[in-house]
Subunit: 214 residues, 2 copies
């Protein structure tokens, strides 16, 4: 069995986020040598419930073997294919500031198939370094040439809030199809471009909510 390619049905964002979490849990099972798991096993590890897991998986068709459970490796492969991370994605980082360097300093993006292939930066002194950790550094003006040349599909905006809108425009003009915005600035993108905003405060609000309701 395999996850079906999704067509018309709108899959909730929360399901997609949980798929990412299930994938991480399965990674843990694989590491500990577990080959077959039940939805209860996954639920326990991920902090959700078996019904939710079955509901999430149901968006992608039938799978698992009745009375046996899920083969960890197959299931992980299916989830990765469903998420589109059975392949790698070329990304551009815009902004070589503290946040940019923090992102470059972790291998968690690369591990998940997101490869930063170019860095764009406004400050000419930084650009003069030529590269950082082997990744080429370009001035902003080069976006329109470099992005199609390197086949970059996703742009990561880690600039100061006041330049975020201009950077998003440049990125879409240059041909990226997805944008991850780390600034608090509200960005509008043309139809067909996928935009996600990272907001550190949202997770803190989740903590506040739980602390407030204990």
């Amino acid at each position: 069995m395999a996850f079906k390619k999704v067509s018309r049905i709108k899959i909730p964002d929360a399901t997609i986020r949980r798929l990412s979490l299930y994938d991480r849990c399965l990674e843990g099972f694989l590491k500990s040598g577990k080959k077959v798991v039940s939805s209860s096993d996954i639920a326990r590890k991920c902090g959700t419930n078996p019904a939710q897991i079955r509901k999430d998986f149901a968006y992608f068709g039938e799978f698992g073997v009745r009375g046996v459970g899920y083969y960890v490796e197959n299931l992980q492969g299916d989830i990765k294919r469903a998420l589109g991370i059975d392949r790698s994605w070329n990304c551009a980082l815009v902004g070589a500031g503290n946040l940019g360097f923090a992102l470059l300093g972790t291998d968690s993006l690369a591990k998940r198939g997101f490869k930063i292939s170019a860095i764009f930066e406004r400050d000419p002194i930084l650009v003069e370094m030529g590269s950082f950790q082997g990744i080429p550094l370009y001035p902003m003006e080069e976006m329109v040439r470099v992005i199609p040349e390197l086949g970059i599909q996703i742009g990561i905006i880690a600039v100061s809030p006041d330049s975020a809108i201009k950077v998003a425009l440049k990125l879409t003009d240059a041909g990226v199809r997805g944008i991850l915005n780390f600034t608090p600035t509200t960005i509008k993108v043309p139809p067909g471009i996928i935009l996600k905003n990272v907001d550190f405060a949202i997770d803190l609000e989740g903590i506040a909510f739980q602390l407030n309701n204990e």
Copy 2:
């Protein structure tokens, strides 16, 4: 009307995340001078649907005025109270590296009521600076004294992945009730402690999913 204090009912994490988003949308309405909105208005601005909004709000009891809609200011106040961000939360940042500085460099946490009152850092040379942007810098060993003294409830872990577990232990020993973990390390916390993990790759996976299914 007011949002009821939540008791036994388990409110989905996704609802809590959406409350945070609704709050941000209402902020936008307020800025543009809009006083009354419908659930359709909120839905359009937040990229969700009116039924979802009514369902999310229903966890907190009755509100809105039939045939009129929601008073923006009241609704925002209710949401903030529900989330527990009608007050401020004292936080400690652990790790004065690139990510730590990036977090300190943005006012988006402070704006949402999360005040970083102390920074803990391993590197004695950094600690010698004494403070950063007016926030006192302490060596790790001071956690157990400083955290109760300043009434810090939430610890933000922005250290290298290999020290995350030790730091989480120190934080809970010192008395924090919530932890936001920016490292990819899996942390276990004692019962009653709220833990959230920030994973930048999850948002990228959401983008990949959508690009893959266009």
